[in-house]
């Protein structure tokens, strides 16, 4: 036993010496080394290289995060050693601002050229919290419908036209589903990409909101909201043109082309998919569909304009960073035409600088050389909106999770849209009351906002 431990100990020691000896020590180049928490996307190297060319006194290294998971940044920031720059989502931004983690950019943004006026007005709300700016976009995303022309031709269905309506969409989808194809194959009309997103688009197009302007009441069971969710439900259960989650699971297990709407589309089995321009990043891996794609904005509802929810992966600065001043250079870089050009060329959604993406022609790249493909994304980003109305009285991430739960109940026919949204509104309102009752800081916000003295029965006397 002593021998076994001795040998293992020697192996460990040998490995330790080897590991330490072969490490390249950090270079003392006199530059400021910034840490950027983002995903390990191959295009980041190109983006960083350009930044270092433009700001020769600064360098950036990536502090990798699991794609979409903020746990690492939260743990690091809680102990005061967070990255200098971090990619954040809108609801995480609000929690981080409340925790004092993010730097208020407002005093520097206009002078440095990365204020909300330097990007799309449609995402302004997602960069701001309580009237102050905390982020600037790395990219912007607004979904359009990408369609596979080969499938439309196969079923003899005309391609979707700009300005099309929901009725046109149903007609086209029915054509794909029911017209016999020349190839003898059957196809899926539409790849679903999440019920909450569909409902949000409908809600925004109808001018609805999630909260009352004072944030004290949920508005998720307003007419605009219920009509939006009803529309989504009808597409699944009345018109049968969007697969339900049960249909999707069945298709995935029987079809043999993988699970998830995106895989169906990449595999050439689905005719339409609602997705952002970032879709083209992966196109080189799918030569079968490359060159056969068209794009159109999401269908209009009646006489309303086509509106989708805009989203952004945006960078914020750690307020405790010793290099926060240099990190401002990085945000300035994100607003530059040089950075946006890299985003255009790599197809990583829409660039943050609208001047670089003014038309379909401006977005042409080696992946998709057709300007008509890119043009609808410009229009969708300009006309899009963010679901930026929030309540200071409830955690935004919690509300997001509950929305998914209740939309899921509608998708699984456990509730009608009206029932689901009534229940969701009640749950949110109850939580707001509870939070107010428990937290004196929120009571102060309430008093400042309403000019009234807080009372636990406030909600009984207030008109929603």
């Amino acid at each position: 036993m002593k021998l076994a431990f001795g040998i293992t100990g020697l192996i460990f020691l040998g490995m330790y010496i080897g590991a330490e000896k072969t490490l390249t020590p950090p270079v003392n180049d006199g530059k400021v080394h910034l840490k950027w928490s983002t995903d390990l996307n191959p295009v980041r190297d190109v983006q960083i290289k350009k930044f270092e060319e433009m700001y020769p006194n600064d360098t950036v290294t990536i502090d990798p995060s699991a794609n979409g998971d903020n746990s690492k940044v939260i743990v690091q920031c809680a102990t005061g050693v967070g990255p200098d720059i971090m990619d954040t989502e809108a609801d995480t931004m609000r929690s981080m601002v409340d925790a004092g983690v993010l730097l208020d950019l407002t005093p520097y943004a206009a002078e440095r050229g990365f204020s909300p006026e330097n990007t799309y007005s449609s995402i302004k709300g997602d960069l701001m919290y309580k009237g102050k700016q905390y982020r600037f976009p790395c990219n912007v995303d607004a979904a359009c419908i990408i369609y596979n022309k080969q499938i439309f031709d196969d079923h003899g269905v005309p391609y979707p036209q700009p300005n099309w309506t929901e009725e046109d969409f149903i007609k086209a989808a029915n054509g794909i589903l029911h017209n016999p194809s020349k190839s003898g194959k059957t196809h899926i009309a539409y790849s679903p990409s999440g019920g909450v997103g569909y409902w949000h688009d409908e809600l925004l197009a109808r001018g609805g909101s999630l909260f009352s302007p004072d944030g004290l009441w949920s508005r998720v069971n307003s007419k605009a909201s219920v009509d939006g969710l009803q529309d989504y439900s009808d597409m699944m259960f009345k018109y049968h043109v969007i697969p339900t989650p049960a249909d999707a699971a069945s298709i995935s297990s029987q079809g043999g082309w993988g699970s998830g709407g995106m895989n169906w589309f990449y595999a050439g089995q689905s005719a339409m998919i609602p997705i952002g321009r970032w879709f083209i990043c992966q196109l080189p891996n799918y030569p079968k569909i490359t060159g056969h794609l068209g794009v159109v904005q999401v269908p209009r509802i009646g006489n309303l304009s086509s509106v989708v929810e805009c989203d952004t992966r945006a960078a914020a600065i750690n307020s405790k960073s010793p290099h926060w001043h240099e990190a401002l250079n990085f945000l300035q870089y994100l607003a530059s035409p040089q950075y946006s050009k890299i985003v255009v060329d790599s197809g990583d959604a829409m660039p943050p600088n609208p001047k670089v993406a003014a038309s379909g022609q401006a977005l042409v790249n080696a992946l998709v050389p057709d300007p008509a493909f890119h043009a609808p994304f410009v229009a969708a980003t300009v006309s899009g909106k963010t679901m930026d109305d929030d309540s200071p009285y409830i955690d935004a991430a919690e509300v997001t999770r509950w929305q998914g739960d209740y939309v899921g109940k509608v998708e699984n026919k456990l509730m009608t849209p009206q029932q689901a949204l009534d229940a969701l509104a009640e749950q949110i309102n109850q939580q707001i009351r509870l939070n107010l009752e428990r937290r004196p800081d929120l009571q102060k916000v309430y008093e400042q906002q309403t000019g009234k003295v807080y009372s636990p029965d406030w909600w009984k006397s207030v008109n929603q």
Partner: protein
Amino acid sequence: MTKKTKTGELALSYGRLLVLALLGMMIALPFVWMVGASFKTLDQVQNVQIVAKHPTLENYPIVLTVKPDPVTHKMLNLQYGRWYFNSLFIAVGSTFLQVLTSALAAFAFARLKWKGRDTVFMLYLATMMIPGVVLMIPNFQAMVSLHFINTYHGLIIPAAFSAFGTFLLRQFMLSISPALDEAATIDGAGAWTIFWDIVMPLARPGIIALTIITFLGAYQSFFWPLIMLNNDQLFPMSVGMLNLSSSYGTETNYIMAATVMNVAPLIVIFIVFQKFLVSGLQLGGVKG
């Protein structure tokens, strides 16, 4: 025994075998799929067929950065060899230290008599009841204070102590007759000699079980290295493979090829030592 009873028993036995075979297939399927996917191109990975229609070996040299990616015509930004070594080094280091410290602590709790021993042991055990997530921030804060961020020490030293390992080995050591210690003491042996020459050899099944459990856990560890490191020279495989999954999309075929090579040592270790693992855990579980 009647013929009817025999037939019934036979049917029951076949039934059991069938259920076990089905369960075994369910457990094996993800592994088989992983190997199958490692021989597919990305567009073929979406297919549910386990065996690729047109299998390719290309994913392996691409992941090992011997060959460029056929789409981008560039080498992947991976340091596979370095990350593989790091995974093994971190696992070997954590395992060696944890088994050693657990054995020493277990010996103190099982074989030495000192005031408050059982109370201290109960307190020690109580730390197992605290979820790891709750300890994440305090542990990380400790690493910051010790300047262990972005170092191998920060990955190995926190894993060098384990209440579970101590508990497991203590149970083994309690099952060894105290008469052996007494006889050794009469012969002039000290505690150190009793530990190395009497108790440790007899606790071998437990030590092997703990070694396997610790090695597997350390080798697969993801979240702790993720938050501790931002220098890619120090990444273990689990963190390095994030390079293959980003907002650009997930290159499942490459991930599977990398994973097949990554899990190979684990499978070999498990197959070779599974007898000790099962017997070790059984023995440790019944002694009080």
